[in-house]
Symmetry: none
Subunit: 382 residues, 2 copies
C-alpha cells in the first residue's frame, strides 16, 4: 500500500489538469492499465479528513468509530511513544495580564528555542503518583503527557479559544476523571508560578485531553504481519497505533523502497508513506507536487520488481495546491493484482479514476478489497 | 439549490431520449461542463420516494430516520400551519349502509364543493380541552387537526382499507395515546350523527395520525440562514419544517428567480422549487415535461447572474412520463462551484450523469458537498 499523502488535486486554471494529471507518470499509468481504478471517500462525501481519520480509513478502520484525540495525535506527531497509561494534551503557551485574563493565545508565537527552554522548566514539576512529560512541538505549541494508573481523559479543554477571559480550570466530564482533572489543575497552578516572569509566555492552556484509542490491531483483524515505512513521526505513530512494525528513514522514496526490498520477506503487508506531495500541496506549490509524484513514479520499478501480489496506490486525502490544504475531494485509487478484473482506465488520474471499475467507494473498503485480491478471505456464509 | 421536481425520466421509445435529454438546455449543459455531475438515490436503490422523503434527503436528513406521517403531510399540503401541539390525520368521507358497513371508501368521489360544505359542518363539533380543525382537501379527502396539550399520535387507522366492514375504532398503540384516541372516537361519533343524512358522504375514516417530527433545523445543523422559494403548499410546508424562511409566489420560474434576486443578500442558502416538471410527468405528458425543463433552462441566467458560490440543480425524485408517477430511478445531479473538480460531462442528462465525477451518491450527501464547496466546513480530525 503506497500512500502518496494528499494525492488528489484540483486542475490548474490554464491547463485544466490536476497535479497528478500534469505529472509524467509512465509506470503508474501502465499499472492503471493493468489494474483497476476508482475514487475513495476517506470519511464521507464533502468531509475533509485530517491525517488521522484519513489513515485509519486506509487501514480499514471506520474513522467515525475510531477517533484519535488531538492530544494523542500531537504526541504521535513528535514521535513520543504513548502507552495505555498515558493521558496526552495539546498545550499552548499564552500571555495573560495582571488579572490573569488572556491577551494572546499564542504568546506572540515565541520561538521554538524558547518553547524548548520553557518546556524544560515545566518538566521539573513534580506531581504525586504520576510521571509527567512536557514536550516541545513548535513555537508556542507543546505536548503534555501524564503517565500513571487509573488516569482518564474525559476532561474539558482549559483553552477558552478566545482572549479577554481567564483560562478555564480542567473539569472532568465523567466522575471517573475527577482525579485526573485534579492532577492537571495542580500542574497548571505550578506552571503558572514558574512562568510568571516569562512574559509573553506566562501561562499555558490545554485542549484535546485523550488516551490511546482502544483499537484492534491489523494482525488481529486481518491476520497479517504488517509493516510501515515512513519518514514523519505522525505516520509512524499512526502505524504503531494499529500494530505495525515501523521502519524509519530520513530519506527519499528510493530509500523507503530499498527498506521495503530489504524486509520484504519478513512481512506480508507494507504501508509505504510519501509525505512530500501533501507538503507541496499545503504550500500551494503545484509544480513541486507534480515533481514529487514524478519522483514516486520513477522509483516505482523498485516496488514492481518485488512482484507484490496486490499493489494499492492511493492517498489519505486530497491536498489541492489551489486550496493550500486538505480537501474533501475524493482520492484516486489504483489496485493491481492478478485477480483484479481490469477496467478500461488508461492512466492514473482523477478524471480517469471517475470511470474506473471500482467506482466511488469508501476508503475503508480498500483493505477488504486488497485482502480479497490476495485470496486471503474466505466466503461469507455457505 | 434548484429542485426541478420529478426531474429524472425514462427514454421515449422512438428517440431513445429522456425528457431532460430531449429538452434543449444550453445553459444547464454549459453549467454541467463547468461543474461536476452524478446521480443520487433519495432513499436507496429501487425505492421510489414520496415528496416528503425526497425533499428531506435533499436537505440532508436521512429519510429513513426522519419520517413524516401522512396526516402531517396532508396538512402541510394544504398550507395549514401545524404546531407541536397538533395531531393530524388524513380523512376520507365514505359511504356506509344501514348496518354501518362501508360500501364506498370514497363516498362516490363527492365534489370538492361538497367536501368544503361537509367540513364546515364537522368544524362545529366541540371537544373538551382541545381545538379541532376540519380542512377540505379535494373531493372526498379532508384533513383533521386536533390541537391540545399532551396529545399523542400512536393511534391506529380507522380506515380498514376495504368495504363490507364497519370502520375501526381509533386505538392507542401506546398507553400515553389513550386520551387522544378517546377524543378522536368522540369526534367520529359526533361526525357520524351529523353526516347521517348526507348520503353518500355519511361517514368518515382516518389514517396516518401523526405529529410534526422532532427534527433539528437547517440553521442548527449547517449554521445557515435558509430560505425557500416555492409555489405549492406542501413544499413550503416541508421547507418550514426544517426551519427555512418561506417566500411564496403563484408564478413562474422567472418570478421565483426574481424573488431570489430580491432577497439574495438576506440569506445564504436558497431552495427554489419547480413543481411543473413533476406534474407533467404524473400526467404522462412527455412533451410538457420537456417544455418545463426548457423554461427552467431559459430562466437560468437570472440565477447565474447572482453568481452563487455553489449551485445545485437536481430533483427530489424521478417522475418519468412513461410511468405517470414517481419512480425509483436515480436523479440527475449537477454541482457547480469554483472548487468542484470538474469532470468531462458535456451536458446535463441522465446518461451523461452516469459517468459524472460525483458518481452515484446518496441524496443526503448533497448538502455536505454543497457546504464543502462553499468552504464552510472545517477538517474532521487533525
Amino acid at each position: 500500500m503506497l500512500v502518496i499523502d494528499g494525492l488528489g488535486g484540483l486542475p490548474d486554471a490554464k491547463t485544466g489538469k490536476t497535479e497528478l494529471e500534469t505529472a509524467h507518470t509512465p509506470y503508474l499509468d501502465q499499472l492503471a492499465k493493468k489494474g483497476i481504478c476508482g475514487l475513495t471517500d476517506p470519511v464521507s462525501p464533502g468531509v475533509t479528513p485530517g491525517s488521522g481519520p484519513g489513515h485509519l480509513a486506509l487501514f480499514g478502520y471506520d474513522p467515525l468509530r475510531f477517533t484519535i484525540g488531538r492530544g494523542v495525535l500531537e504526541a504521535l506527531g513528535i514521535g513520543f511513544e504513548l502507552t495505555k497509561n498515558d493521558v496526552a494534551a495539546r498545550g499552548n503557551f499564552c500571555t495573560v495580564d495582571s488579572k490573569r485574563l488572556i491577551t494572546d493565545r499564542r504568546a506572540g508565537r515565541i520561538t521554538t528555542d524558547k518553547c524548548i527552554e520553557l518546556c524544560t522548566l515545566l518538566a521539573q514539576i513534580k506531581l504525586q503518583g504520576v510521571k509527567t512529560f512536557v514536550l516541545p512541538v513548535k513555537e508556542h505549541r507543546f505536548s503534555l503527557v501524564i503517565r500513571g494508573k487509573d488516569l482518564h481523559d474525559e476532561i474539558s479543554d482549559t483553552d477558552p479559544q478566545k482572549t479577554g477571559v481567564i483560562p478555564y480550570q480542567a473539569k472532568h466530564t465523567k466522575a471517573t476523571a475527577r482525579h485526573t482533572a485534579d492532577i492537571i489543575n495542580n500542574f497548571i497552578k505550578q506552571a503558572s508560578e514558574i512562568l510568571a516572569g516569562h512574559h509573553p509566555a506566562n501561562m499555558i492552556m490545554f485542549r484535546g485531553f485523550s488516551k490511546l484509542p482502544d483499537i484492534p490491531s491489523m494482525s488481529e483483524i486481518y491476520k497479517l504481519t504488517p509493516a510501515a515505512i515512513a519518514v514523519y513521526p505522525m505516520y509512524k505513530g499512526l502505524a504503531k497505533l494499529v500494530g505495525m512494525e515501523v521502519f524509519s528513514t530520513d530519506g527519499s522514496i528510493q530509500e523507503e523502497l530499498k527498506i521495503l526490498a530489504d524486509c520484504y520477506d519478513k512481512h506480508d503487508f507494507f504501508y509505504v508513506h510519501v509525505k512530500q506531495a501533501d507538503s507541496a500541496g499545503e504550500d500551494g506549490d503545484f509544480k513541486r507536487k507534480v515533481k514529487v509524484i514524478e519522483q514516486v513514479d520513477s522509483a516505482l520499478p523498485q516496488l514492481l520488481n518485488l512482484k507484490p501480489e496486490v499493489i494499492i496506490v492511493t492517498g489519505d486525502h486530497s491536498t489541492p495546491a489551489l486550496l493550500k490544504g486538505h480537501s474533501w475531494h475524493p482520492v484516486p485509487l489504483l489496485l493491481y493484482s492478478q485477480w483484479c478484473r481490469p477496467d478500461t482506465t488508461q492512466e492514473f488520474s482523477e478524471s480517469a479514476c471517475i470511470s474506473g471499475g471500482l467506482g466511488r467507494i469508501q476508503a475503508t473498503d480498500i483493505m477488504p478489497l486488497a485482502m480479497a485480491n490476495a485470496l486471503k478471505l474466505i466466503k461469507f456464509g455457505a
